[in-house]
Symmetry: C2
Subunit: 148 residues, 2 copies
DNA sequence: CATTAATAAATCGCACGCGATATAAAGTGA
DNA sequence: TCACTTTATATCGCGTGCGATTTATTAATG
């Protein structure tokens, strides 16, 4: 009885709900982040900067699992908004050092309500959240281990 | 001691790894789907059609948790590739009926190896996969319930 | 020390994914 | 029946994400 094509059914996919939830996340964040004049991707860049104070682009790319061709234009926009500064590292001029402006640092306070409000959209039991977190990072670590 | 800003740390986010894994999924699928001349989004549209034979755009949007402004251009491309046909429903001309061409139906056979190969990229224990699946759909159902 | 290799960013072109809006067709009610 | 609303699809403009490639700078090697 078992269908030869069962693996191609949408309902049997694990990647699809991941993809769909990710899209949904972006949608749910949008109205909250509009208040900060940030997109979701810009927001996670800011999260790194609120923690690290000073990073280069390579660090950001690795922290966010993104490529330079995504991050470069992103930083240009954040700079245009006055949230970050970019300067060349004098010790190694290939490095671009990214720092927060005062305006960017101040935004952290205003951002505090974002995680609160997002938590309301997707309520999970604490054990579910923990398990989800663990599995997702397991996938991330598996998936990012290769490539020359 | 507990940091006022703890909720803004990237490591304390649940949405971020979801977003990162979703990006990673698209990356992993790409070389496999290149063989079928499909993108990931086009692939999930085809998955629906391999099951349903005949749908309208609204059905596709709901099945894939996407909006018409994403799906309309997608269908145009699948049509250009010769995988689908679009005809107006004579009973209600607002409806666009989407069907597979022979070429599109035949692609199902070739697609069989895709789920196999993807499974190699992200290996999870069966219980983990089940739990992940359950939690993701819980989130999808919560998140898509509102909006006027 | 000159040539080659490696590295960090940036650029290019394409395909989403979205909110907002427009268009066209059907349904609704006074 | 005729304005009004609802519904299905399409259009517009913007911001990602990506593979592939380029540019600028530093490191490595003979």
């Amino acid at each position: 009885m078992s269908d030869k094509y069962a693996s191609l059914r949408l309902k049997n996919q694990l990647c699809f709900p991941l993809y769909a939830v990710s899209n949904m996340i972006t949608r749910k964040y949008k109205p909250l982040l509009d208040e900060l004049d940030l997109t979701y991707t810009q927001y996670i860049v800011m999260m790194v900067l609120w923690e690290e104070k000073q990073v280069n682009e390579k660090f950001l790319c690795e922290a966010l699992y993104l490529k330079s061709n995504t991050v470069t234009p992103l930083l240009k926009k954040l700079q245009a908004k006055g949230y970050i500064d970019k300067t060349k590292d004098k010790a190694d001029e290939r490095n671009i050092i990214i720092t927060l402006t005062k305006k960017g640092a101040d935004l952290k306070e205003k951002a505090l309500c974002v995680p609160e409000n997002i938590a309301k959209e997707f309520w999970l039991a604490p054990e579910e959240a923990t398990e989800l977190y663990r599995i997702l990072y397991k996938m991330l670590n598996q998936g990012s281990s290769q490539n020359p």
